[in-house]
């Protein structure tokens, strides 16, 4: 049963599972409580914060824990000061588009750049939200990120949910204002995420009640998943090292997909090693995903909305506006070191070879 949907959620890493098993007797308590159980839970939380901060080359004081990557994006984008304009990319994750839409509703002009297009000039007062790694194709937007960081007077928020554990991250070197990450993309459990904030960055909480996280995020934090997140972050150097092997697996999958007539999306420029986005003519992605699943291969398409219905991939549509079929047909095979080995890749290729030709015209 090869699982190739690591950009949606990775299997739980052994390190995260062990850390949560160790912590479960103490992590239930409210870390804001004064008493002993509260203090023990607080210690676990702060230890996790330290580990997350280290993974980013940051100080733990600048880490705001959230319930996940969507909340981290929402806080960074919606909690900042009112910008004169907002600039992002069409291929960004819905977690970015949602709070950007809220600025638009408040009358702030919004531009969504096509593909991996470069930034416009004069960004004074602007909010630039950079999806560092396209969640659908794995394309890396390094150049827009560097341009945004250099732009004078712009506030730069980075959605690094698909970059963490795939690319080395050093927030000091990036020169941006905020960076959002999530646990379940790197071997941790879902339900935990974090926002790194530059020390002098002003931020209004989006969850205002409670004053936790130094007044930046109200509500009792999910200590147990955050412990898992911390452990996953502590293991990130190993994960990054494993990316070479992951890339080799991806290249084998890609060769097999191309041999079956697949057209690879988002591979014109730099791309993370963990992702293959491919369109097979004659298949709608929403049919190919179940067909592969029924044979035991777990992949995904576009963006899975809450109903479970699959929408055509908006990111791929923005990359190839002249070829709409590619978005209709695009499926994402995403990999990671968790739970994969060469045999699983062999099996995945065999399933592709069995299923894809069923639609040959």
């Amino acid at each position: 049963m090869p699982y190739l949907d690591h950009h949606a959620a990775t299997p739980l890493s052994a390190a995260a599972a062990a850390a949560m098993a160790d912590a479960r007797g103490a992590a239930w308590a409210n870390p804001s409580s004064v008493h002993g159980p509260g203090r023990r839970s607080r210690a676990l939380l702060e230890n996790a914060r330290q580990r997350v901060a280290e993974a980013l080359g940051a100080s733990s004081a600048d880490i705001v824990f959230t319930s996940g990557g969507t909340e981290a994006c929402d806080l960074a984008i919606g909690g900042g000061p009112r910008p004169t304009r907002v600039i992002t990319w069409a291929l960004a994750h819905p977690a970015v588009h949602g709070p950007v839409d809220q600025w638009a509703a408040l009358g702030v002009p919004v531009e969504r750049l096509a593909g991996t297009a470069p930034l416009p000039a004069d960004l004074e007062g602007a909010l630039v939200v950079v999806p560092w790694v396209d969640h659908e194709t794995g394309a890396i937007l390094d150049r827009p990120l560097a341009e945004a960081a250099r732009a004078a007077g712009a506030r730069v928020v980075v959605d690094a949910n698909q970059a963490l554990g795939r690319l080395p991250i050093d927030v000091d070197a990036l020169g941006v204002d905020a960076l959002a990450i999530a646990s379940h993309k790197v071997g941790g459990p879902a339900g935990a995420g974090a926002l790194w904030l530059r020390r002098d960055g002003a931020l209004e909480p989006r969850l205002s009640g409670g004053g936790q996280e130094r007044g930046r995020r109200g509500g009792s934090p999910g200590v147990l998943p955050l412990v898992g997140f911390g452990a996953a972050c502590a293991a990130l150097p190993d994960r990054l090292e494993a990316m070479a092997q992951v890339g080799a697996w991806r290249d084998r999958l890609q060769a097999a997909a191309v041999a079956l007539g697949g057209v690879v999306n988002g591979a014109e420029g730099p791309r993370v090693a963990s992702c293959l986005n491919v369109s097979f003519r004659g298949w709608r992605a929403e049919h190919l995903v179940p067909a592969l699943d029924l044979e035991g291969l777990a992949v995904s398409a576009g963006a899975a909305c809450s109903s479970g219905t699959t929408e055509p991939s908006p990111g791929v549509a923005s990359l190839y506006p002249e070829e709409p079929w590619r978005a209709q047909s695009a499926v994402r095979l995403s990999l990671g070191p968790e739970g994969l080995d060469g045999m699983a890749i062999d099996e995945a290729i065999a399933i592709l070879e069995r299923v894809v030709p069923r639609a040959r015209p």
Binding site: W283, E286, H287, P290, A291, D293, L294, E295, S306, S307, G308, T309, T310, E311, V355, R358, A359
Partner: protein
């Protein structure tokens, strides 16, 4: 799987019989705002379908057919109402959006056949599969299925065809189907409140007012748009009390006219149908059959003759309210021979 009782029980029966199943729910329509709750195609219906599949331990997928549904079902439905007809969208929906599509998809999912919870039966015949009425005369849905291509029919399975609705519910309870006691779904899934005129107005703008006239053309009053009327309608004509009981006899779309008159003027002995489909080869000679002119209508005896654009039926006894847009489905006993849409 709609999330309703019928498709759930159909799945449970096939599962009990040892078949390997894949549950599919088609996402056809998003009801707007306050109409969403408890209606077909609402998110909770998809959840119900998923729950049934979880109960059976089979995979379940939701496929987005909203675009095809709007194009092939809703838009023609709106056109027909604006053209003075009373369309029956379920026929086209079953044919194109649902069953042709699923039968085409089945081999891609590694499946041999497509099953639904329709109350109808399929039997092998000499010239291919035959479509028969469901045993439950009150629920029989063969009327909606006349348009199926023979090659589609050959790949279909209707596990409820020999059951009554009550038997199906009982089977559902016996098999632990989670929603065995759920209520009946609406006649038109995308107009859950039944207000067709309101739906047409929301989609296409307000109706054009016109005259309500009697058979001699004399004006009896005004109406707010022809969409609100169907042949045989008595209520909601806005003619006030007192006078003789009147019924809608005809709708004249190019004059925005609704013609009303007494009940006996509703009787008709002949109809012409177009957009015809035959399940077997089209008959070359006129023949005697029984013809159903709406869902709640017992097939009536008549002489059927194939014409250039479709077929003509001459009924042995006059029929009430032969309504353009509805389907005329030809039976011989329990067997569906074919059908078409009433033109006049």
């Amino acid at each position: 799987m709609s999330g309703g009782v019928d498709s759930s029980v159909a799945a449970a029966l096939l599962h009990e019989a040892g078949h390997e199943l894949v549950g599919v729910t088609l996402h056809l329509w998003d009801a707007s705002g306050d109409q969403q709750v408890g209606r077909c195609c609402a998110p909770e219906d998809r959840d119900d379908a998923r729950r049934t599949c979880d109960h059976l331990g089979i995979p379940h997928y939701v496929l987005d057919e909203r675009e095809a549904f709007r194009r092939d079902v809703v838009e023609p439905f709106l056109d027909a109402y604006r053209g003075g007809e009373t369309p029956i969208p379920c026929v086209e929906c079953n044919r194109t959006v649902k069953l042709d599509h699923l039968v085409e998809l089945a081999p891609r999912f590694g499946c041999d056949a497509v099953a639904t919870g329709h109350y109808a039966r399929i039997e092998p015949g000499e010239g291919g599969a035959r479509l028969l009425r469901g045993h439950d005369r009150g629920k029989d849905q063969s009327y909606f299925l006349f348009g199926l291509r023979p090659e589609t029919l050959a790949k279909m399975v209707f596990p409820l065809g020999a059951l009554t609705k009550e038997q199906a519910r009982a089977e559902g309870r016996r098999l632990g189907v989670p929603n065995a006691d759920k209520g009946e779904s609406q006649e038109l899934c995308f107009v859950p409140d039944g207000d067709v005129a309101g739906f047409v107005a929301r989609e296409r703008g307000p109706g054009r007012p016109g005259a309500m006239v009697d058979e001699s053309g004399e004006s009896l009053g005004e109406h707010g748009g022809i969409e609100a009327f169907t042949i045989g309608q008595r209520k909601g004509l806005g003619l006030g009390g007192g006078g003789p009981t009147r019924y809608v006899l005809r709708i004249v779309p190019d004059q925005d006219q609704v013609v009303v008159g007494p009940a006996d003027a509703l009787q008709g002995s002949e109809l012409c149908a177009e957009r015809v489909r035959w399940i077997g080869p089209p008959p070359s000679e006129p023949f005697a059959g029984e013809v159903r002119i709406r869902y709640r209508h017992e097939p009536a005896a008549g002489q059927v003759e194939v014409t250039d654009g479709g077929f003509r039926v001459r009924f042995s006894q006059p029929q009430r309210a032969i309504t353009p847009g509805q389907a005329a489905v030809i039976y011989r006993g329990d067997e569906v021979l074919g059908g078409g849409f009433i033109k006049s």
